[in-house]
Symmetry: C2
Subunit: 189 residues, 2 copies
């Protein structure tokens, strides 16, 4: 907790008008679809929501999805099959544009948990909705990757594939907030 | 290794003309800069390159950088300080546009390692150069995050901040290619 941080809050940030352009490299094929007729923004009672999250979680563990990569990029996948797990970066194509302006959320839409800033959550509603899932790579056939437990909806746009390298601080005593411990406890109990 | 994968390689992928637009939410302030006068695309002899990577790695472990988040997004950081580690998604602002067309690379520019597709590496040269680093969060002061061991160059454009949740398959026997084991072994020996 050094005291070297600059206090000037206006330190130059890039102008908000700077645009960075992504082009999809592929698309997700999955059984996961938005349930029609269900208003996903409608708050659910905490108990019902916990039951719902648990059911989704159980279903997700077994779910197998396909990543259809643009055949023009097939060569870029060479060697990916030597990894057991990959990171899928994808764009939630059904996210309403105005949801990119949401500032705080209840994690996993659980109204019994405190609201936190979206950067402190994995919510899909965020200024730049590039979502990340780490999944098991089951098979590669040319430009198609078969993966397990991907939480992306059918039709999600894939923007990048990276190998899972465990380069990161797994061993380094990570610390999590109470709401996350509660979310996990409620998954299994 | 199920046999259910479709063999039709032309399965609809989104048209390559689809554009997804990101706007930077902040900028990296770091001591890491491109060494002037050094041609980074110049291949180095394997032994020299190993020494170079080791020195960079040692320096990086101690490096403290600042993430200057646009003050307009300060509220979105609320609660982030309860996490010990975060994912920084950033755009390498110095990457030449033509490097987005690179298809295969020697990992870490080590010519003694086999060339693999860029999606099988963490190379910054990739069609959509959204890079991810998992770093320790040392402190937050308003819109400024102080982080440890971030490998982003000074001036890199931040596109998202996510909490590190260890939701992923750390415990699930990950498997890595030989070249990655070699890279790591050479870091310390």
């Amino acid at each position: 907790m050094g005291g070297e941080l600059k206090k000037d809050k206006t330190l130059q940030v890039p102008p908000a008008s700077t645009e960075l352009t992504l082009r999809p490299i592929g698309v997700v094929r999955s059984e996961l679809k938005l349930s029609p007729g269900r208003d996903h923004d409608q708050p659910t009672k905490p108990k019902e929501r916990i039951t719902e999250i648990r059911a989704q979680h159980r279903k997700l563990q077994k779910l197998v999805s396909e990543l259809i990569i643009d055949p023009a990029f097939e060569e870029l996948l060479e060697g990916i099959e030597e990894f057991s797990h990959i990171l899928v970066l994808y764009w939630p194509h059904l996210l309403p544009e105005e949801n990119r302006k949401i500032r705080k959320v209840h994690p996993m839409r659980r109204m019994d948990l405190p609201e936190v800033g979206v950067f402190a959550t994995r919510s899909q509603a965020r200024p730049n909705p590039v979502l990340i899932s780490t999944v098991r790579l089951l098979a590669r056939r040319g430009n198609i990757l078969e993966v397990q437990a991907l939480d992306a909806l059918d039709g999600s746009l894939i923007v990048d594939i990276k190998p899972y390298m465990e380069m990161t601080p797994e061993a380094d005593q990570p610390r999590f907030p109470d709401w996350l411990r509660k979310l996990r406890k409620d998954l299994t109990e």
